[in-house]
Protein backbone atom coordinates (compact mmCIF):
# COMPACT_ATOMS: atom_id res chain seq x y z
CA UNK A 1 0.00 0.00 0.00
CA UNK A 2 1.16 3.52 -0.78
CA UNK A 3 0.67 6.38 1.61
CA UNK A 4 -2.29 8.60 0.75
CA UNK A 5 -1.51 12.21 1.63
CA UNK A 6 -3.23 15.55 1.27
CA UNK A 7 -2.04 18.13 -1.27
CA UNK A 8 -0.79 20.20 1.69
CA UNK A 9 1.29 17.27 2.96
CA UNK A 10 2.69 16.88 -0.55
CA UNK A 11 3.71 20.54 -0.56
CA UNK A 12 5.44 19.99 2.82
CA UNK A 13 7.57 17.25 1.25
CA UNK A 14 8.76 19.51 -1.57
CA UNK A 15 11.43 22.05 -0.53
CA UNK A 16 12.24 25.38 -2.17
CA UNK A 17 14.69 24.93 -5.03
CA UNK A 18 13.56 21.40 -5.93
CA UNK A 19 13.62 20.10 -9.51
CA UNK A 20 10.04 19.21 -10.47
CA UNK A 21 8.56 17.41 -13.43
CA UNK A 22 4.92 18.37 -13.80
CA UNK A 23 2.60 16.51 -16.16
CA UNK A 24 0.11 18.21 -18.43
CA UNK A 25 -0.40 19.83 -21.81
CA UNK A 26 -1.91 23.32 -21.60
CA UNK A 27 -3.22 22.41 -18.14
CA UNK A 28 -4.90 19.24 -19.45
CA UNK A 29 -3.64 16.35 -17.31
CA UNK A 30 -1.85 18.51 -14.73
CA UNK A 31 -2.01 17.76 -10.97
CA UNK A 32 -4.04 20.86 -10.14
CA UNK A 33 -4.52 20.25 -6.42
CA UNK A 34 -0.78 19.78 -5.81
CA UNK A 35 -0.04 22.94 -7.81
CA UNK A 36 -2.56 24.91 -5.73
CA UNK A 37 -0.96 23.64 -2.51
CA UNK A 38 2.54 24.61 -3.69
CA UNK A 39 1.32 28.13 -4.48
CA UNK A 40 -0.44 28.35 -1.11
CA UNK A 41 2.73 27.20 0.69
CA UNK A 42 4.66 30.03 -0.97
CA UNK A 43 7.35 27.76 -2.38
CA UNK A 44 10.10 29.42 -4.46
CA UNK A 45 13.01 28.81 -6.76
CA UNK A 46 11.79 25.62 -8.43
CA UNK A 47 13.30 24.21 -11.58
CA UNK A 48 10.31 22.95 -13.57
CA UNK A 49 10.45 20.48 -16.44
CA UNK A 50 7.12 20.47 -18.29
CA UNK A 51 5.75 20.70 -21.79
CA UNK A 52 4.39 24.23 -21.32
CA UNK A 53 3.26 26.75 -18.71
CA UNK A 54 -0.43 26.70 -19.69
CA UNK A 55 -2.15 30.07 -19.27
CA UNK A 56 -2.25 32.57 -16.40
CA UNK A 57 -4.63 31.19 -13.76
CA UNK A 58 -4.40 27.62 -15.08
CA UNK A 59 -2.14 24.71 -14.07
CA UNK A 60 1.59 25.52 -14.15
CA UNK A 61 0.59 29.09 -15.04
CA UNK A 62 -0.30 29.55 -11.36
CA UNK A 63 3.30 28.73 -10.34
CA UNK A 64 4.56 31.27 -12.89
CA UNK A 65 2.23 33.98 -11.53
CA UNK A 66 3.33 33.15 -7.96
CA UNK A 67 7.00 33.60 -8.92
CA UNK A 68 7.72 30.04 -7.75
CA UNK A 69 9.78 29.05 -10.81
CA UNK A 70 13.30 30.31 -11.45
CA UNK A 71 14.32 27.82 -14.12
CA UNK A 72 12.14 26.20 -16.76
CA UNK A 73 12.71 23.51 -19.38
CA UNK A 74 9.71 23.45 -21.73
CA UNK A 75 8.78 23.25 -25.40
CA UNK A 76 6.18 26.00 -25.59
CA UNK A 77 5.38 29.12 -23.55
CA UNK A 78 3.51 31.03 -26.26
CA UNK A 79 0.09 30.93 -24.61
CA UNK A 80 1.35 32.35 -21.31
CA UNK A 81 2.44 35.98 -21.77
CA UNK A 82 3.58 36.10 -18.11
CA UNK A 83 6.21 33.41 -18.78
CA UNK A 84 7.46 35.28 -21.83
CA UNK A 85 7.65 38.54 -19.85
CA UNK A 86 9.50 36.88 -16.97
CA UNK A 87 11.91 35.28 -19.43
CA UNK A 88 12.66 38.56 -21.22
CA UNK A 89 13.07 40.34 -17.85
CA UNK A 90 15.53 37.64 -16.77
CA UNK A 91 13.39 36.48 -13.83
CA UNK A 92 13.11 32.95 -15.25
CA UNK A 93 15.87 31.11 -17.05
CA UNK A 94 14.06 29.27 -19.86
CA UNK A 95 15.46 26.46 -21.98
CA UNK A 96 13.18 25.80 -24.95
CA UNK A 97 13.40 22.26 -26.29
CA UNK A 98 11.52 20.58 -29.17
CA UNK A 99 8.54 18.75 -27.71
CA UNK A 100 9.40 15.29 -29.02
CA UNK A 101 12.98 15.62 -27.78
CA UNK A 102 11.79 16.74 -24.33
CA UNK A 103 9.45 13.74 -24.02
CA UNK A 104 12.27 11.34 -24.98
CA UNK A 105 14.78 13.04 -22.64
CA UNK A 106 12.40 12.39 -19.75
CA UNK A 107 11.90 8.79 -20.86
CA UNK A 108 15.70 8.35 -21.15
CA UNK A 109 16.11 9.73 -17.62
CA UNK A 110 13.56 7.32 -16.23
CA UNK A 111 14.59 4.26 -18.22
CA UNK A 112 18.33 4.41 -17.64
CA UNK A 113 19.40 5.49 -21.10
CA UNK A 114 22.38 7.76 -21.72
CA UNK A 115 20.54 10.23 -23.92
CA UNK A 116 18.50 10.64 -27.07
CA UNK A 117 19.76 10.86 -30.64
CA UNK A 118 17.44 12.89 -32.84
CA UNK A 119 17.51 14.75 -36.13
CA UNK A 120 15.01 17.30 -34.83
CA UNK A 121 16.74 20.67 -34.48
CA UNK A 122 19.88 19.80 -36.47
CA UNK A 123 21.26 23.02 -37.96
CA UNK A 124 18.89 25.26 -35.98
CA UNK A 125 19.43 27.42 -32.88
CA UNK A 126 17.87 24.60 -30.83
CA UNK A 127 21.13 22.72 -31.40
CA UNK A 128 23.15 25.41 -29.59
CA UNK A 129 25.39 23.86 -26.95
CA UNK A 130 24.39 20.29 -27.91
CA UNK A 131 26.76 17.59 -29.06
CA UNK A 132 26.32 16.29 -32.58
CA UNK A 133 27.26 12.79 -33.64
CA UNK A 134 28.06 11.57 -37.10
CA UNK A 135 26.65 8.07 -37.54
CA UNK A 136 27.28 6.49 -40.94
CA UNK A 137 27.45 9.94 -42.53
CA UNK A 138 24.27 11.30 -40.96
CA UNK A 139 24.23 14.08 -38.39
CA UNK A 140 22.31 13.53 -35.13
CA UNK A 141 21.86 15.69 -32.03
CA UNK A 142 22.55 14.16 -28.64
CA UNK A 143 20.06 15.32 -25.99
CA UNK A 144 20.91 14.40 -22.39
CA UNK A 145 18.54 12.42 -20.13
CA UNK A 146 16.43 14.41 -17.66
CA UNK A 147 15.56 13.49 -14.08
CA UNK A 148 13.78 15.30 -11.27
CA UNK A 149 13.64 15.34 -7.48
CA UNK A 150 9.85 15.07 -7.69
CA UNK A 151 7.49 14.06 -10.47
CA UNK A 152 3.98 15.46 -9.99
CA UNK A 153 1.57 13.32 -11.95
CA UNK A 154 -2.10 13.47 -12.92
CA UNK A 155 -3.95 10.26 -13.61
CA UNK A 156 -7.56 9.38 -14.23
CA UNK A 157 -7.64 6.36 -11.97
CA UNK A 158 -5.33 4.94 -9.30
CA UNK A 159 -5.41 2.23 -6.68
CA UNK A 160 -3.73 2.22 -3.28
CA UNK A 161 -0.78 0.25 -4.67
CA UNK A 162 -0.08 3.30 -6.83
CA UNK A 163 -1.10 1.72 -10.13
CA UNK A 164 -2.13 4.49 -12.53
CA UNK A 165 -4.45 4.64 -15.57
CA UNK A 166 -4.63 7.64 -17.86
CA UNK A 167 -7.42 8.92 -20.05
CA UNK A 168 -7.41 10.34 -23.59
CA UNK A 169 -5.25 13.44 -24.11
CA UNK A 170 -4.65 14.02 -20.40
CA UNK A 171 -2.06 11.20 -20.68
CA UNK A 172 0.58 13.30 -22.49
CA UNK A 173 3.86 13.55 -20.48
CA UNK A 174 2.57 11.85 -17.30
CA UNK A 175 3.65 8.22 -17.94
CA UNK A 176 7.24 9.26 -18.82
CA UNK A 177 7.52 11.62 -15.86
CA UNK A 178 6.35 8.88 -13.50
CA UNK A 179 9.57 7.01 -14.39
CA UNK A 180 11.96 9.96 -13.99
CA UNK A 181 11.23 11.45 -10.57
CA UNK A 182 13.17 10.35 -7.46
CA UNK A 183 9.87 10.80 -5.62
CA UNK A 184 6.63 10.36 -7.57
CA UNK A 185 3.40 11.89 -6.28
CA UNK A 186 0.22 11.01 -8.17
CA UNK A 187 -3.00 12.97 -8.04
CA UNK A 188 -5.83 10.91 -9.42
CA UNK A 189 -9.41 11.74 -10.27
CA UNK A 190 -10.60 8.43 -8.86
CA UNK A 191 -9.03 5.96 -6.42
CA UNK A 192 -10.08 2.31 -6.45
CA UNK A 193 -9.43 -0.43 -3.92
CA UNK A 194 -6.44 -2.63 -4.83
CA UNK A 195 -7.43 -5.41 -7.22
CA UNK A 196 -10.16 -3.60 -9.11
CA UNK A 197 -7.98 -2.31 -11.96
CA UNK A 198 -7.33 -5.04 -14.55
CA UNK A 199 -3.54 -5.45 -14.91
CA UNK A 200 -3.55 -4.65 -18.62
CA UNK A 201 -5.32 -1.33 -17.96
CA UNK A 202 -2.39 -0.15 -15.84
CA UNK A 203 0.00 2.16 -17.71
CA UNK A 204 2.18 3.15 -14.74
CA UNK A 205 2.83 0.25 -12.32
CA UNK A 206 2.55 1.25 -8.68
CA UNK A 207 6.20 0.34 -7.99
CA UNK A 208 7.08 3.72 -9.52
CA UNK A 209 4.74 5.74 -7.33
CA UNK A 210 5.59 6.92 -3.79
CA UNK A 211 2.48 8.84 -2.76
CA UNK A 212 -1.17 9.07 -3.79
CA UNK A 213 -3.07 12.27 -3.16
CA UNK A 214 -6.17 11.66 -1.07
CA UNK A 215 -9.60 12.24 -2.54
CA UNK A 216 -10.83 15.83 -2.34
CA UNK A 217 -13.83 16.91 -0.29
CA UNK A 218 -17.00 15.93 -2.17
Amino acid sequence: MKKAITPQEAAELIPDGAVLMIGGFMGVGSPHRIIDALVEAGRKNFTVIANDTAKPGCGIGKLITAGAISRLIASHIGLNPETQKAMIAGAIDVLLTPQGTLAEQIRAGGFGLGGVLTKTGVGTIAAKGMRTLDIDGEEWLLAPPLKADFALIHSDRADYNGNLCYQLTSTNFNPMMATAGAVVIAESREISPVGLIPPDHVTTPGVLVNYIIRRGQP
Partner: protein, 218 residues
Protein backbone atom coordinates in the same frame (compact mmCIF):
# COMPACT_ATOMS: atom_id res chain seq x y z
CA UNK B 1 -13.90 34.28 -50.39
CA UNK B 2 -11.41 35.20 -47.66
CA UNK B 3 -7.66 34.71 -48.22
CA UNK B 4 -7.72 32.09 -45.43
CA UNK B 5 -10.45 30.09 -47.12
CA UNK B 6 -8.61 30.13 -50.46
CA UNK B 7 -5.54 28.72 -48.74
CA UNK B 8 -7.53 26.12 -46.77
CA UNK B 9 -9.44 24.90 -49.83
CA UNK B 10 -6.27 24.55 -51.89
CA UNK B 11 -4.38 22.78 -49.08
CA UNK B 12 -7.28 20.34 -48.77
CA UNK B 13 -6.51 19.16 -52.35
CA UNK B 14 -3.01 18.18 -51.21
CA UNK B 15 -4.30 15.67 -48.64
CA UNK B 16 -4.81 12.13 -49.85
CA UNK B 17 -7.28 9.40 -49.02
CA UNK B 18 -6.50 7.24 -46.02
CA UNK B 19 -3.51 9.26 -44.77
CA UNK B 20 -2.48 10.58 -41.34
CA UNK B 21 -2.20 14.37 -41.22
CA UNK B 22 -1.25 16.94 -38.57
CA UNK B 23 -2.88 20.37 -38.90
CA UNK B 24 -1.26 23.25 -37.02
CA UNK B 25 -3.28 25.50 -34.73
CA UNK B 26 -4.82 28.53 -36.47
CA UNK B 27 -5.27 28.78 -40.23
CA UNK B 28 -4.26 25.13 -40.89
CA UNK B 29 -6.94 23.84 -38.46
CA UNK B 30 -9.63 25.14 -40.83
CA UNK B 31 -8.41 22.86 -43.64
CA UNK B 32 -10.39 20.00 -42.06
CA UNK B 33 -13.66 21.78 -42.94
CA UNK B 34 -12.88 21.23 -46.62
CA UNK B 35 -12.08 17.51 -46.40
CA UNK B 36 -14.76 15.01 -47.41
CA UNK B 37 -15.23 12.51 -44.53
CA UNK B 38 -15.38 9.59 -46.98
CA UNK B 39 -11.68 10.15 -47.77
CA UNK B 40 -10.92 8.58 -44.39
CA UNK B 41 -8.15 11.07 -43.61
CA UNK B 42 -7.16 10.83 -39.93
CA UNK B 43 -6.00 13.95 -38.12
CA UNK B 44 -3.25 13.62 -35.57
CA UNK B 45 -2.64 16.15 -32.82
CA UNK B 46 0.76 16.10 -31.13
CA UNK B 47 -0.71 16.13 -27.61
CA UNK B 48 -1.64 12.51 -28.24
CA UNK B 49 -4.60 11.73 -30.48
CA UNK B 50 -4.92 9.90 -33.80
CA UNK B 51 -8.37 10.57 -35.20
CA UNK B 52 -9.22 14.01 -33.86
CA UNK B 53 -12.68 15.32 -34.68
CA UNK B 54 -14.21 18.79 -34.67
CA UNK B 55 -15.17 20.85 -31.64
CA UNK B 56 -18.03 19.29 -29.65
CA UNK B 57 -21.38 21.06 -29.20
CA UNK B 58 -21.53 23.37 -26.20
CA UNK B 59 -22.07 21.45 -22.98
CA UNK B 60 -20.60 18.23 -24.43
CA UNK B 61 -16.91 19.08 -23.97
CA UNK B 62 -14.63 16.54 -22.28
CA UNK B 63 -11.81 18.00 -20.17
CA UNK B 64 -9.58 15.08 -21.22
CA UNK B 65 -10.13 15.51 -24.96
CA UNK B 66 -8.26 18.49 -26.33
CA UNK B 67 -6.05 19.66 -29.20
CA UNK B 68 -2.51 21.02 -29.09
CA UNK B 69 -3.81 24.48 -28.20
CA UNK B 70 -5.78 23.10 -25.26
CA UNK B 71 -9.10 23.58 -27.11
CA UNK B 72 -11.88 21.02 -26.82
CA UNK B 73 -12.20 18.48 -29.63
CA UNK B 74 -13.92 15.15 -30.28
CA UNK B 75 -12.54 11.75 -31.27
CA UNK B 76 -13.80 10.14 -34.47
CA UNK B 77 -14.97 6.51 -34.27
CA UNK B 78 -11.86 4.34 -34.33
CA UNK B 79 -9.62 7.03 -32.85
CA UNK B 80 -6.67 6.19 -30.58
CA UNK B 81 -4.98 8.23 -27.88
CA UNK B 82 -1.30 7.89 -27.02
CA UNK B 83 1.31 9.48 -24.74
CA UNK B 84 3.71 12.23 -25.86
CA UNK B 85 6.61 9.86 -26.68
CA UNK B 86 4.36 7.75 -28.88
CA UNK B 87 2.85 10.82 -30.50
CA UNK B 88 6.28 12.13 -31.51
CA UNK B 89 7.42 8.66 -32.46
CA UNK B 90 4.66 8.76 -35.08
CA UNK B 91 5.91 12.16 -36.24
CA UNK B 92 9.66 11.48 -36.33
CA UNK B 93 9.35 7.84 -37.36
CA UNK B 94 7.91 8.57 -40.79
CA UNK B 95 4.36 7.50 -39.92
CA UNK B 96 2.85 10.95 -40.47
CA UNK B 97 2.00 11.51 -44.12
CA UNK B 98 1.71 15.28 -44.01
CA UNK B 99 1.97 18.26 -41.72
CA UNK B 100 0.29 21.58 -42.52
CA UNK B 101 1.81 24.57 -40.74
CA UNK B 102 1.89 28.34 -40.94
CA UNK B 103 5.05 30.22 -41.87
CA UNK B 104 6.78 33.50 -41.09
CA UNK B 105 9.30 33.11 -43.93
CA UNK B 106 10.18 30.55 -46.60
CA UNK B 107 13.27 30.97 -48.74
CA UNK B 108 14.70 29.92 -52.12
CA UNK B 109 16.13 26.72 -50.60
CA UNK B 110 12.66 25.84 -49.32
CA UNK B 111 13.71 26.42 -45.71
CA UNK B 112 10.94 27.41 -43.30
CA UNK B 113 11.12 29.83 -40.37
CA UNK B 114 7.95 29.74 -38.30
CA UNK B 115 8.63 29.62 -34.57
CA UNK B 116 10.45 32.67 -33.26
CA UNK B 117 11.07 36.38 -33.83
CA UNK B 118 14.05 36.91 -31.52
CA UNK B 119 13.43 39.58 -28.87
CA UNK B 120 9.83 40.07 -29.92
CA UNK B 121 7.91 36.80 -30.05
CA UNK B 122 9.48 33.78 -28.33
CA UNK B 123 6.69 31.22 -27.93
CA UNK B 124 8.93 28.14 -28.19
CA UNK B 125 9.00 25.62 -30.98
CA UNK B 126 6.51 23.21 -29.36
CA UNK B 127 6.18 20.38 -31.86
CA UNK B 128 7.05 22.41 -34.97
CA UNK B 129 10.68 21.27 -35.31
CA UNK B 130 9.74 17.59 -34.94
CA UNK B 131 6.89 17.98 -37.44
CA UNK B 132 8.98 19.73 -40.10
CA UNK B 133 11.91 17.33 -39.65
CA UNK B 134 9.83 14.18 -39.47
CA UNK B 135 6.65 14.37 -41.56
CA UNK B 136 6.81 12.80 -45.01
CA UNK B 137 5.35 15.93 -46.63
CA UNK B 138 5.54 19.47 -45.23
CA UNK B 139 2.84 21.83 -46.50
CA UNK B 140 3.26 25.50 -45.62
CA UNK B 141 -0.08 27.33 -45.51
CA UNK B 142 0.31 31.08 -45.13
CA UNK B 143 -0.61 34.50 -46.45
CA UNK B 144 1.67 35.50 -49.31
CA UNK B 145 2.71 38.74 -47.61
CA UNK B 146 2.62 40.20 -44.08
CA UNK B 147 1.39 43.80 -44.08
CA UNK B 148 2.50 44.05 -47.71
CA UNK B 149 5.98 42.64 -46.97
CA UNK B 150 6.96 39.49 -48.88
CA UNK B 151 7.23 36.32 -46.77
CA UNK B 152 8.80 34.29 -49.57
CA UNK B 153 12.33 35.64 -49.48
CA UNK B 154 15.78 34.91 -50.98
CA UNK B 155 17.09 33.70 -47.61
CA UNK B 156 15.30 33.43 -44.25
CA UNK B 157 16.35 36.16 -41.82
CA UNK B 158 14.54 34.47 -38.90
CA UNK B 159 15.84 31.30 -37.19
CA UNK B 160 14.94 28.17 -39.18
CA UNK B 161 12.53 25.50 -37.96
CA UNK B 162 14.48 22.76 -39.74
CA UNK B 163 17.16 22.36 -42.42
CA UNK B 164 14.73 20.23 -44.39
CA UNK B 165 13.20 21.55 -47.63
CA UNK B 166 9.43 21.93 -47.41
CA UNK B 167 7.27 20.10 -49.96
CA UNK B 168 4.91 22.85 -51.11
CA UNK B 169 3.91 26.42 -50.23
CA UNK B 170 0.23 27.37 -50.54
CA UNK B 171 -0.69 31.05 -50.18
CA UNK B 172 -3.70 33.21 -50.98
CA UNK B 173 -1.93 34.17 -54.25
CA UNK B 174 -0.05 31.10 -55.43
CA UNK B 175 1.15 27.53 -55.11
CA UNK B 176 4.96 27.38 -55.12
CA UNK B 177 7.13 24.27 -55.13
CA UNK B 178 10.71 24.32 -53.83
CA UNK B 179 12.96 22.21 -56.08
CA UNK B 180 16.68 21.53 -56.60
CA UNK B 181 16.63 24.50 -58.96
CA UNK B 182 14.86 26.89 -56.58
CA UNK B 183 11.24 27.95 -56.26
CA UNK B 184 8.86 27.11 -59.10
CA UNK B 185 5.54 28.88 -59.48
CA UNK B 186 3.00 26.11 -60.04
CA UNK B 187 -0.40 27.80 -59.76
CA UNK B 188 -1.99 31.18 -59.24
CA UNK B 189 -5.08 31.99 -57.18
CA UNK B 190 -8.28 32.89 -59.07
CA UNK B 191 -7.99 36.41 -60.53
CA UNK B 192 -4.31 36.80 -59.58
CA UNK B 193 -1.74 37.41 -62.35
CA UNK B 194 1.80 36.05 -62.54
CA UNK B 195 3.07 39.65 -62.46
CA UNK B 196 1.23 40.32 -59.18
CA UNK B 197 2.74 37.18 -57.63
CA UNK B 198 6.26 38.12 -58.75
CA UNK B 199 5.78 41.63 -57.34
CA UNK B 200 4.70 40.21 -53.95
CA UNK B 201 7.63 37.76 -53.77
CA UNK B 202 11.20 38.84 -53.05
CA UNK B 203 12.65 35.37 -53.76
CA UNK B 204 13.54 34.42 -57.33
CA UNK B 205 10.71 32.41 -58.91
CA UNK B 206 10.99 30.12 -61.91
CA UNK B 207 7.94 30.74 -64.10
CA UNK B 208 6.88 27.85 -66.36
CA UNK B 209 5.17 28.67 -69.67
CA UNK B 210 1.84 27.56 -68.22
CA UNK B 211 0.78 28.68 -64.73
CA UNK B 212 -2.79 27.41 -64.32
CA UNK B 213 -5.34 28.86 -61.93
CA UNK B 214 -5.55 26.85 -58.70
CA UNK B 215 -8.50 24.57 -58.08
CA UNK B 216 -10.20 25.63 -54.88
CA UNK B 217 -13.16 23.36 -55.31
CA UNK B 218 -15.67 26.21 -54.99
Amino acid sequence: MSPEEIIQRRVAQELHEGTLVNLGIGLPTGVSRHIAPELGILFQSENGIVGMGSRPPEGMEDEDLTDAGGGFVTAVPGAATVDSCFSFGLIRGGHLDATVLGGLEVDEKGHLANWVVPGRMVPGMGGAMDLVSGARRVIVAMQHTAKGRPKIVPECTLPLTAMRRVTIIVTDMAVIEPTDDGLVLRERAPGVTVEEIVAATSAKLTIPNEVPEMNIGA
